[in-house]
Amino acid sequence: MDFFIQLFTNPIGFYNQHELLIAQIGINAILAISIFVTFYSGQLTLANAGFMAIGAYTTVIMSLYLPTPLPLDMLIGAVLAALIGFLVGLPVLRLRGVFLAIATIGFVEALRLGVILNVPITGEGQGLKNPSADPLGGIVPILASLPVLAYLVWRLTQSRLGQAWSAIREDELAASSNGINVPVYKMIAFVIGALIAGYAGALETHINFFVDPTEYGIGRTIQILTFAVVGGTTNVLGPIVGAVFLTALPEIVRGFAAYRDVVNGIILILVIIFRPQGIVGRGGLAFIRPRWWTRWRAPERPASAH
């Protein structure tokens, strides 16, 4: 309760006290946007943690060895994630549903166990110290990026591209009969998702002093998936709400902080049972709408014979 009281009575104090939490919420929300893009095109991909790792390591390694400015490092980190996303997508996107999920999890683990832990430049199991870490200054680009990315992705879903994604999500076969080049549009979604995840990884290194390979495993991927499931994936607000809610929750109910994963699991189960479309269902935050809303929106018309 203190959490909310402070949020409304003393927002500046709240911000100062919870800066790290706010930064983490921002990062998670951006990651949620990245998984939303692939979900929106009907693909259950779980490679986000891998792309995050690529963005994070690239940024840190560049600031360790090259004199380039930090924003450029981060940009290259994100672009490299997208590039690798494209290469991974070539074989993997032929798969569907749960097979695609397993293949992408395979990519995450292969990257972490096979590459990161074995290549000296990544510090192997030790991780890397980040020379340009700036925990306080790092929040600004995170909080600035979040609304911009959310807006851009929302606009994308309104475009011809987004319409094609919807069609593919609903029925691939029908989509191709409508002249939609299904493999290309799936790839675009996968690469955009990789780009955003890589960017989130790069942003995250900025607020940490250390890049730790254990951060980028299956656990992280599943966490990102949970944001999307709890929040809902019918529009871009859903995963963001899911990310904010699930990240802030351990802070709100301090007593349960130790049981964080248990609480998350219970919430996930409750959402899947009682609200499969997520907190933000079709047409906005449906659960805060009064009962008469639907009737008012869709007045009953006399059905006529046809």
Binding site: L152, R155, L156, Q158, S159, R160, L161, Q163, A164, S166, A167, E170, D171, L173, A174, A175, S176, S177, N178, G179, I180, N181, V182, T294, R295, A298, P299, E300, R301, A303, S304, A305, H306
Partner: protein, 508 residues
């Protein structure tokens, strides 16, 4: 296995060509080859236009759509969770200017573009007979079966195709609706569209096509004008069947003209001791009232039919009786069981069994496994197994292929499997939802023979059917359902002679 073998077919620009043949003849396979969903081992498919000749074989489906070949699907493939308008607007995809980058900054000209598309989509809905105001914002999955078929045609038209391939556009429609499909096809053709039509309804195909090709076992067995094809003995044995020839030749009212004149009285006698009793039943989907106060009864040993247009609420009534939907108001009793509250599994165990619309067989399980699932709720395992053996003897179509996946059966065979599966639950009352849906005329005969046979064995039947003529032939009594209400009721023969019924449902 050769699904389509050495078939040649030419479609001239501006023509309406029909493609007919029994279930499993390879008609849909041919469509899938032309539209790029399947690749042929040999042969070529060419699109000839003023710009030159394009080889279509080995091109992906989206490219073929881009050349102006649009299709509908036999098994509906709408974007179920999107609205009707959205479905049609996606159909415009190849023509829509790529605005992805401009969309990132909303500009007025783009919005004008969107308005234009919305207007066109609503015109297309209207053109196929949907009401954009009423249906435009409804999710595709909530539309009635016939409306979903219409919506698929609208979506295909949104491509502005040169060639439109319609795969059973009139399946599940009654004659009046089929006439509207015919009028639509003719109107589109008059506007310059070339049409390839696949359907089992001979009145529609014969009435609208200039030339008809007949497939059987993947080969073309006949081609020619409607008259030559319908007189071809090979076509009659393979496809039309004797019964269908009769009903194709049947001009409604001809043999019954004398009776129509005196306006036969409608018997409205309700059974005194009904097995099934329905009173003032009302069912709604959210804000949409699908059934508005329906009362009827079925006595032991009867065949009762519900007929009426698509979207009239017939399937909703059946699904409510099976406990799959809950009514908003009203009474539904089956013997002593209250159907409005009893769970579906209990309703089945009490002997009220539904054979669902579209058959819903489990395509990957074998025929025997499908039948075994039908006996799932039974405790007397041995007797059930004896019955399964008995059914497989009774229906050799099933017995001969007991260990094949059920998905390999043709539509009519699947329907018989679905009915046999229903019988294994030991029904006292069998609900049949559109048993003749999508079946070739000869197969319709077989299915109706099966229905009559199981009725003779003592099963009471409640039948929902678009093929009103056939339904009324076998029904003791029937009810005409219109917009969620019962409009008329009477004996099967009385309704068959009723001029209103003839006009609306028998294709008068």
């Amino acid at each position: 296995m050769h699904a389509v073998d050495d078939v040649s077919l030419e479609i001239e620009e501006g023509a309406i060509i029909g493609l007919i043949g029994p279930n499993g003849a390879g008609k849909t396979t041919l469509v899938n080859l032309v539209t790029g969903y399947l690749r042929s081992q040999a042969g070529s498919i060419r699109l000839v236009s003023s710009g030159g000749t394009i080889e279509l074989a080995r091109r992906p489906p989206h490219a073929i759509a881009g050349f102006g070949i649009a299709r509908t699907f036999q098994t509906l493939r709408l974007y179920r969770n999107l609205t009707a308008m959205e479905n049609v607007m996606i159909g415009m995809h190849p023509r829509r200017r790529d605005d992805t980058l401009q969309r990132l900054i909303p500009l007025a000209p783009l919005l004008r573009d969107e308005d234009k598309r919305l207007e066109e989509a609503s015109n297309l809905l209207q053109r196929v007979g949907l009401d954009p105001d009423r249906d435009g914002d409804r999710r595709a999955s909530t539309l009635s079966y016939g409306d979903q078929r219409r919506l698929e045609v609208a979506r295909a038209l949104a491509l502005h195709p040169k060639l439109l391939i319609l795969d059973e556009p009139a399946a599940g429609m009654n004659p009046a609706e089929k006439d509207r499909v015919r009028a639509l096809i003719q109107q589109l053709n008059a506007g310059g569209l070339t049409v390839l039509l696949i359907d089992h309804d001979m009145r529609l195909v014969m009435g609208v096509c200039q030339r008809i090709a007949v497939l059987n076992f993947g080969r073309k067995i006949a081609e020619g004008s409607p008259a030559t094809v319908s007189d071809d003995p090979a076509v009659i044995t393979a496809y039309l069947g004797s019964q269908a020839q009769k009903s194709a030749a049947h001009v409604p009212g001809s043999e019954e003209m004398d009776i129509v004149g005196e306006k036969a009285p409608l018997a409205t006698t309700e059974p005194a001791m009904p097995l099934l009793e329905v009173k003032d039943l009302a069912v709604a989907y959210g804000a949409i009232q699908a059934v508005r106060g329906v009362s009827f009864g079925v006595a032991k040993g009867e065949i009762v039919a519900l007929i009426g247009a698509n979207g009239a609420g017939k399937s909703t009534i059946l699904n409510t009786l099976s406990g799959l939907l809950r009514p908003r108001a009203g009474v539904a009793r089956f013997a002593e069981l209250d159907l409005t509250t009893a769970p579906p599994d209990r309703i089945v165990r009490q002997g009220l069994v539904q054979v669902p619309e579209g058959r819903e067989i489990l395509a990957r399980l074998t025929i025997r496994e499908n039948l075994e699932l039908g006996a799932w709720a039974r405790r007397d395992v041995r007797a059930a197994h004896r019955e399964i053996e008995g059914l497989m003897e009774q229906f050799p179509i099933l017995g001969q292929r007991r260990d094949l996946p059920a998905g390999q059966l043709s539509g009519g065979e699947q329907q018989i499997l679905a009915i046999a599966r229903g019988l294994l639950a030991r029904p006292r009352l069998l609900l049949l939802d559109e048993p003749s849906l999508g079946l070739a005329p000869q197969m319709v005969d077989t299915v109706f023979e099966v229905i009559q046979r199981i009725h003779n064995e003592g099963v009471t039947i409640l039948l929902v059917e678009q093929n009103a003529l056939r339904a009324l032939e076998i029904a003791d009594r029937a009810y005409v359902v219109e917009t969620g209400r019962i409009l008329l009721s009477g004996t099967g023969s009385a309704l068959r002679r009723n001029p209103e019924v003839q006009k609306a449902y028998l294709g008068g």
